[in-house]
């Protein structure tokens, strides 16, 4: 396998309802990534698009539709999809395009335009459930999240207030992100008093639905040296999918995320993640999910993540900054674009280009993780200077 460098990143603003089409969003992010790398589209040998269900944009086979906005026309182009984990999986796919030696460059784009679906994007999930054994109950995706959050709280004795701290932190971090949709200074009390959605999940425990795109430029070592003295290296990738029966997993712990992380750690020769990873962008569509995933990627022991959060370890100036971007809770959650945004954040942080979001400690290695499908896919990437 060849070394793969990230030499550019770009993203659009994340917003609730944009005039821009998915193609136009893809173009904006792609153009910014190219500009950041100092490349033109003619220099790009392959393109990977990551985008989640067609049902959001409302365009069937939207990978085809989005292609020219991502500069994929007349190139080896493909769409990859593993549900909500797609945003990190797409850079993983970009990595194997280059690591394999097939291509010297791969532009990776994550896109989602969730606003067209009415009355609410949540509707897209109705038909993922079993038509005879689940749908008759009128189940929504929130049912699973709520059961999962409660199970996690029960097993470890975690309180809703502990979990709310994540929302407070991430929305606060997003105050410094120029693309953020829901930056806010809020308190634990605000979260606790926000409207019930499906208890224990309340309004401020949840990320918003969004439109947006994000992109990264992946190249071989040889090409990287031509464009920059300061490449960031992808040193580990992993993914794993657990059973689709959510009744056949213990909801308190995402073991598929652990398996994905272990795959990446093996490749990156990481044997003590807590010491060898300086900061993390873990998937936080819900506040409890950040805790869940921190434990899944082995950056916290089981049940320890709430304590680290309480003690400020995961703050931007803490010992293990988590979601310094502001995460999905603060920056927004255009599904696949949100995952790719996390990979962009690793790039910006590792290059010292994160501006007001720059974490206080010196960082040499970061981890991004996304999650999705019917609660069972974990995708992980580690990057270093």
């Amino acid at each position: 396998m060849r070394r793969v460098a990230v030499i550019g990143a770009g993203m659009t603003k994340f917003r609730r309802r944009m005039l821009e089409t998915g193609r136009e969003l893809s173009f904006e992010a792609s153009r910014m990534a190219l500009d950041s790398a100092g490349m033109e589209i003619k220099d790009v040998e392959s393109v990977v698009m990551g985008t989640a269900p067609d049902a959001f944009d409302g365009i069937h086979m939207k990978g085809d539709y989005l292609m020219d906005g991502a500069g994929g026309t007349d190139k080896p182009y493909s769409r990859v999809y593993v549900g909500g984990g797609t945003g990190v999986f797409a850079p993983v796919a970009g990595w194997w395009h280059v690591a394999s030696g097939l291509f010297d460059s791969c532009l990776v784009v994550g896109e989602e335009k969730m606003s067209p679906l009415r009355p609410h994007p949540q509707y897209a999930f109705w038909s993922i459930f079993d038509h005879t054994l689940e749908r008759p109950l009128g189940v929504t995706l929130l049912w699973i999240f709520s059961l999962e959050m409660r199970r996690y709280m029960h097993v470890h004795g975690v309180t809703e207030e502990d979990i709310a701290l994540v929302s407070v932190k991430n929305k606060g971090n997003a105050m410094d992100h120029p693309c953020a949709q829901l930056p806010a200074r809020i308190t634990v009390d605000d979260v606790m008093k926000s409207e019930p959605i499906c208890l224990p999940v309340k309004r401020l425990d949840v990320s918003p639905t969004s439109d947006g795109a994000a992109a990264v430029m992946l190249v071989s070592e040889e090409v990287a040296r031509k464009y920059t003295d300061d490449p960031v290296w992808v040193d580990g990738v992993g993914w794993n999918v657990d059973t689709q029966y959510w009744t056949n997993r213990d909801l308190y712990y995402p073991r598929y995320v652990e398996k994905a992380a272990r795959m990446a750690y093996k490749m990156a020769k990481i044997d003590n993640p807590r010491k060898q990873i300086d900061f993390a962008e873990v998937y936080d569509p819900f506040d409890y999910k950040e805790l869940h995933h921190l434990e899944g990627v082995l950056l916290a022991d089981k049940g320890e993540a709430p304590k680290l959060t309480r003690e400020g370890v995961t703050q931007r100036d803490g010992d293990l900054p988590v979601n310094p971007s502001g995460g999905l809770l603060g920056v927004g959650n255009p599904i696949a674009a949100a995952g790719t945004m996390k990979v962009c954040e690793l790039f910006w942080q590792l290059r010292g280009e994160a501006g007001k979001r720059q974490v206080k400690k010196e960082v040499n290695r970061g981890l991004a993780q996304a999650w999705g499908d019917l609660l069972q896919v974990g995708t992980v990437i580690t990057m270093r200077r």
Binding site: L19, E20, T21, S30, R31, I41, G58, R118
Partner: protein
């Protein structure tokens, strides 16, 4: 379990089924470039984006040049006259039902990359025919593709 289901079921009427639907409803935006194009139609004009770098114009409209991969911000007005590049006659609607025959054509415009698919009519219409956009009366236009009623042979 070794026998495929299709061989075991002798009457499909004996199969129990559950009715369901995937009932999605959408409200789409036309996008930055699409909006500009449709507002043009509303004013009786065919406006196309023109790349400031390579000079290419595009239909359907787009916010970036697919050749240069650069943003396009300027638009030029086309003469509403184009040429039929291909045409066909539909007898079945998109749900497979018999419908009133309707001729539609792929119309290209001088100097423009791409073209428009729209209805077309006129005696002797064929590939190569010159056609002109027939707009609806101004009061009836809504800023949609159908502000052009049809293309008529000149």
């Amino acid at each position: 379990m070794s026998m495929p289901m299709k061989e075991r079921i002798t009457s499909v009427d004996r199969q129990r089924t559950w009715e369901g639907e995937i009932p999605f409803h959408y409200e789409y935006t036309a996008g930055v470039s699409g909006e500009r194009f449709l507002r043009g139609l509303q004013r009786g004009k065919i406006l196309v984006p023109k790349c400031g770098n390579c000079g290419r114009s595009y239909l359907p409209p787009r916010a970036y040049c697919t050749n240069c991969f650069l943003e396009i911000t300027s638009y030029v007005e086309l003469k509403p006259t184009g040429r039929v590049s291909a045409l066909a006659e539909s007898h079945v609607d998109f749900q497979g039902r018999r419908s009133k025959p309707r001729t539609f054509a792929f119309v290209t415009f001088a100097g423009v990359t791409g073209g428009l698919v729209h209805f077309a009519e006129g005696k002797g219409l064929r590939i190569g025919s010159s056609v002109r956009a027939k707009f609806k009366p101004a009061a009836k236009r809504k800023g949609t593709l159908l502000d052009i009623e049809t293309f008529v042979k000149t």
